[in-house]
Amino acid sequence: MAEIATWKKILIGLVCLGGIVLAAPNVFYATVEKANDARTDAANGAVLTPEEEQALAGWPSWAPSQVVNLGLDLRGGAHLLVEVAVEDVYADRLEGFWPEIRDGLRDVRDDVGTVRRVSLENGELRVRIGEEAGMPVALEKVRSLTQPVISLTGAGARDFAVTVDGDQLVVTLSEAEKIATDNRTMEQSLEIIRRRVDESGTREPTIQRQGEDRILIQVPGIGSAEELLALLGTTAKLDFHHVVGRAADGGANPGTGNVVYPSVDEPGVFYIVERRAVVSGEDLVDAQPAFDQNGRPAVSFRFNPSGGRAFGNYTAENIGNPFAIVLDEEVISAPVIQSHIPGGTGIITGNFDVEESTRLAILLRAGALPAELSVLEQRTVGPELGQDSIDAGRIACMVAFAAVLIFMVLSYGLFGLFANIALIINITLILALLSVIGATLTLPGIAGIVLTIGMAVDANVLVFERIREELRSAKRPGRAIELGYEKALSAIIDANITTLIAAVILFSLGSGPVRGFSVTLGLGIITSVFTAIYVTRVLIVLWLDTRKPKTVEI
């Protein structure tokens, strides 16, 4: 039994020690978390408040400061899974291509005759030309206007596909361009969601792309998902339009080049406005909550130079006429232009309260979402329940732990005590690993730890039962212990690998609670095999070496 090399003993000791050091910050969770927050603020160049200074002093900077990341079910917060309507953008892309086609075909007017746009629907832009004989020339010309798609997979593909249907050219987005557009839309959406959530001042939000067209948003500490949704649910596309007239119902025929939008604060009122915006939200560089001259909440904004110039010119030419401020296809307000507004700043009034004007300002600053979001899943855990869950989980863990410890000592005496020390180290290692890899601990994760407590003793039970058997055949203690470990090994490996397989499959296929559970279960299996095989063995060897017992009772 004395064959465990010294370097192995030292290595095993070091792993245990490392685990204890790395798990230690979790014992002082609140202190460490506050200190970490203060440190992040300081790193971002913020001036620290006295409380933050104190928090910073609470945990030394040289000490490990990674703590287990608590999941939303344990600390409270909101979880949203949204789908981005990526195909919304296709029509815009085609719309943007139309002027190019028109101008391009104008150059070959002698061959193609008149050019007329027929329709843009179902992802198809249809263009009719007057001279059917000129179709090959027209096709050639439009094809020459398309650009190659730059992407890894779409090598050689062009952005638009052009086909002929009778006297009509049919322009659609190519598959490669659709994929490229989807990716751009997703990246833009992620960025804008991130900006909106950050601006609202919450801590450590998780914003992840999931699959082709989904985004997962998790914000700890927020009381309701409604709050988050109010921030994310709107596209926030702001435009300033020329008002043509008013209508009594939304079905009124607005005439070519115009559209009908409902008014937000006057029920039953509709505005007919020019489809083309005078200035759009893309030209905004800043927006702030403000108050108008009557002291009512409003939003002040500033345009970039080109937007400011366009706005200035428009207001100069249209004094006395109303213009419409349109947010997401609804008219917020339609003030009458009193005078020329140079300099590119202005103020939006409407029926806001302070909260709404603050939100609108955030939305405008962050920019418009390129496509609509639809919410597929929403989960909110209130902070009260989070605390309850932690308490319940903690109590369950401690009771389970204590019961197993007592049971092991009753069954195996001193050896049971060795197994218990290994079990405590095991839990410490799980916490250390969770802290270091930054995995999130959820309530099912706590269940996984409790289960690990139950199963971790299995390997030791296997070994101890083997040692008992070997002792029965009158072997010397050292030899019996050695054989016990040796013979139990294959069963321990097989049994744990099968459970590990289940944990890995859970992790890769699961989401939410399933995943949280699989993380702690998988980590628990790895650490429990280590502690049950190596840690107990080192303890037993040390005991044998110092005490040199003639007989072993197990």
């Binding site: 309701s224 909110t380 329940l385 069954s411 039962e465 097989d494 397989i501």
Partner: protein, 327 residues
């Protein structure tokens, strides 16, 4: 004085009970399937779509007040249940909790955001001090995918261990172990149909752990069988199986008991959220322990392991060439 669950040496004739065990299990499997088709599972919103709101009030609130408040909103089918947590005193959980489940409107792929807002608005008006502990809402699109992923996970896990045991032992062992596994999964689903305990994502996690645990148990017995097959080359298979089960009995009961202790603590004290989960696990441990003795081994006996000893013993014996792993 040591605590001993079983005497040092036992000589139970488990194989004699094999046919009885298989018959009893057969009955329960059929019963589970019948119950499943008659009553179905009480699928939670994870798999069916819909919303679930857990709220608490300071004062005890009347369930009928909740019902009438929700009824007035005309939001379709809903259920209101009071949560009584016996461990609430000990763990300090919020008292007077109520869970409302609101069915998803047909054909609606996204969640019913406005319905939740309406319900919360109306409840806050009726019970001014109400606190919303948890709000979950899953759209039909996602819930469909969650069902698929759940079923796929269980099937994949079973397939993966089938292959693993086949590589490590022989195919007969593999069939025995997987039969025990499928037995456990079917019985677990049967119990959930019978009790109508909510079947949600965490239950899938529980079933997968049962898969892992059941295997764990079976593999320990089989490992001993393989070893004994090598030692007692002429002994009839039934005797080898009996010997192996008896030899591992002490360990089987110890481990099952420690795991059960941990799970019972979780069931009683862990709070409402993981109660269904711990229940599934407790059931799985009991069934899994039973099946590794009374299902897996009799099937192995029936299939009869190939015992070709022409190869030298250190060449692997009853196992394949993968059988010897030395760490």
């Amino acid at each position: 004085m040591r605590l001993r669950l079983v005497p040092e040496e036992t000589h139970f004739d488990f194989m004699k009970f094999g046919p009885i065990g298989v018959a009893i299990s057969g009955f329960f499997i059929v019963a589970s399937i019948v119950v499943f088709f008659m009553m179905g599972l009480n699928f939670g919103i994870d798999f069916r779509g819909g919303s679930m709101i857990t709220a608490a009030t300071e004062e005890p609130a009347d369930l009928s007040t909740y019902r009438s408040t929700l009824e007035a909103l005309d939001i379709g089918d809903f259920t209101v249940t009071e949560i009584s947590d016996p461990a609430g005193e000990l763990t300090g959980a919020v008292p007077n909790q109520v869970t409302m489940r609101i069915e998803q409107a047909d054909g609606d792929e996204t969640i019913q955001q406005d319905v939740i807002a309406q319900v919360k608005g109306a409840l806050t008006e009726t019970f001014p001090g109400i606190v919303y502990l948890q709000t979950d809402s899953v759209g039909a699109k996602v819930s469909g995918e969650l069902v698929q992923a759940g079923v796929l996970a269980v099937l994949l896990a079973i397939g993966a261990v089938l292959v693993y045991i086949w590589l490590r032992f022989e195919w007969q062992f593999s069939v025995g172990a997987v039969a025990a596994l499928v037995h456990d999964v079917i019985l677990t689903i049967g119990v959930f149909s019978l009790t109508q305990i909510e079947f949600n994502l965490s239950i899938i996690a529980a079933i997968l752990t049962i898969v892992g645990y059941s295997l764990n148990d079976t593999v320990v017995v089989f490992d001993r069988v393989r070893e004994n097959l090598r030692r007692f080359k002429q002994t009839p298979l039934a005797e080898v199986l009996n010997l192996s089960i008896n030899e591992t009995l002490s360990r089987t009961l110890m481990t099952s008991l420690t795991t059960l202790i941990a799970l019972v603590a979780l069931y009683v004290l862990g709070g409402e959220v993981i109660r269904g989960f711990s229940f599934a696990m407790i059931w799985g441990i009991v069934v899994g322990t039973y099946s590794s003795i009374f299902i897996a081994s009799p099937i192995l006996l029936k299939l009869d392991v190939k015992r070709d000893w022409s190869k030298p013993e250190d060449g692997g014996g009853a196992g394949t060439q993968f059988a010897n792993i030395d760490a």
